[in-house]
Amino acid sequence: MKLWNLRKRNKCNTSSVIKVGVMGSARGVGTTHLAVMLANYYANGCGMKTCVVEFNDHKDYMRMCDVIGGIADRRHFTYKCIDFHVCDSGNAMADYMSGEYEVVIIDMANDKSNTLEELKRCDIRLVTGATDVWKVGRLEKLLSELEDMSVCMAVCGGNTKELRRLQKMYKVGLLEVPAEPDPLVIQSETLYKFRCFLGNVDRQ
């Protein structure tokens, strides 16, 4: 299923902001990597005003800020035309949603206790995971928990047979995430793949 169809179906309000939720099934499956890649796709590949919100307590963006250097506010900064925000409350999230952005990407990591409600409000819901034998169980468990909402699996690499089985069993879409060494510089093939998967963007 094309994700833009998914978005159309999930759309519950008239807001023009595209809300993308990325939830991980486990640690180290590439949730933040995908969130940043998507932010880069929307911001630089489609020219849209985009922010990515860290809605978990991993503090990855603060560490990223340290590596970039020269940034005063570690909780809110802009890099390569993408606005990064570290968010710990629902109120702040509402500000981003109703603010100046055309696209808001929420990096939920694997903390589903606080973020499930937020995921429900998203137009595009992605669940990252891996098909390694020690991780596939957690992906399966998360998919079964989210069975009442339309989600899409996003997996980098992985066993094709296993992915097809999960797709069939949970009736979910699949985004085969291209391997990108740097999420802030994507290849043209990745741009093309995201475009095919996410469909045409509605530019204002």
Partner: protein, 488 residues
Amino acid sequence: MKNILTYDRKCINIVNEPQYYGEEVYLETFERRYEVIRLIAQTRHSKVYLVKHRQLEVYRIAKVVSGGSADCERALKEANTIKEFKHPGIPLVYDVEVSGDSICIIEEYIAGKSLAELIANENLTVKQIAHMGVCICEILEYLHDCVGVIHMDIKPANIMVRNKSAKKHNLIGSNHKNEYEVCLIDFDSSGYTGEVVEENFSTAEYAAPEQFSQDRQVSSARTDIYSMGMLLLYMLNGGHMQSLAESTETLCQLHSDTIGPIIRRCIRHNRIQRFKSIKELKQALSVVAKSKDDSRKQNNTCAVRDIYVYGTGHGVGTTHFSLCLAAFLHRCYRGRKVLYRRCNDREDVFAEACKGRLSEQGAYMRHGIYIMPDYGGGVDCDVSGYDIVVYDYGVERPDVDGVDESVRCICVDTCGYRKKKQAASECLGLTEVATFVNHISGKRFYELVKRAGNVRRFYRMPCIYEWNETNRLFEEAVIEALELKKAK
């Protein structure tokens, strides 16, 4: 059981049917046999549906005409004409149902897209265009010589093209990546050779002048030859017909060693001066189609590769000029990949580019050219796969030191002449800078040129509303500015 028209209202939700359509036709027989899939096309008096045969499970085309006796007569005449045809490039007629003042014709379904859609998405070389012309000529040769019928409405929408493996004839460019099979449709304007044409139903852009003559004209093969010429011109022009008349000569001159003279001879106003028969036209096109390679492609390999465009300020029309230039180069060098690349401004062309189709190389294809916005370093794209690249630097002057002779530099300016002269002289290095002055009247421009004392390198940018439209003045100026004539 519901008839086709009722189905149309309820399922396809087309409710603006005019009142004067008259009594609805109850096509029960057809409804039993066919399932309506979707509405393909619609005119004032006719509708074309894609239908599926319930038993055979094959697709067919159902053409329902319900505009009155005259229209039905035409449709019936069309069905009676094409029932005699046995050619793979012409659809078969399977069935006709007449009911009251309506008629439904069931025809063979030809999967694929129209030539208009193909031209909008594909970049055909001159050789491929000639191949396409040969294939259409083969169908017309059958019509003219074997059954004595003149089509009289040859246009891109009436030519269906589909990809096919090379096992059958009518294949375009079988030694190329894309192989196409051509079919000719819509015979409702057709007539027998020598028949007096009572009323003209053809399309204005492609119809021969004699079709609009007040005297009753006898249909002849030369009428179709004129339309073939216009069709070739349409393909060569990248799918544009607006203001074509003025750019015809430019295009024919640019392709004077290949298809240009053929087009020129096809579209002569005096029909005696055109090709005598479609066979003669086919032979002429075959020579171009069978040539080893596009002579233009061979000749222009050492011509312009990169063109740097910059403006002296915001709002002088640098982006518009660059897009016009890229579109012209695409028309000029058919089959060559022309890229417009925006530099230094992330916002500028995204809206226009996003209307096109994204390629795997990261550029959007729109109106035959590739548009690559400024991705701000977020997307890694390679420009080496393109033949000609137009770099739009906005208001930043490009660094032209050390560039080779395949690079041209163009400055776009408006009335601020002193600034322009300064900018142009600063950019003189290995490449010369041609300056296009925009938003300026002819009188004012010549005053400025006179004061400058160097007429050759200054050009006036004519008024072009759509960047993909043709303009003879612009094209002549670009040919001179970029010294494209050397490439011949």
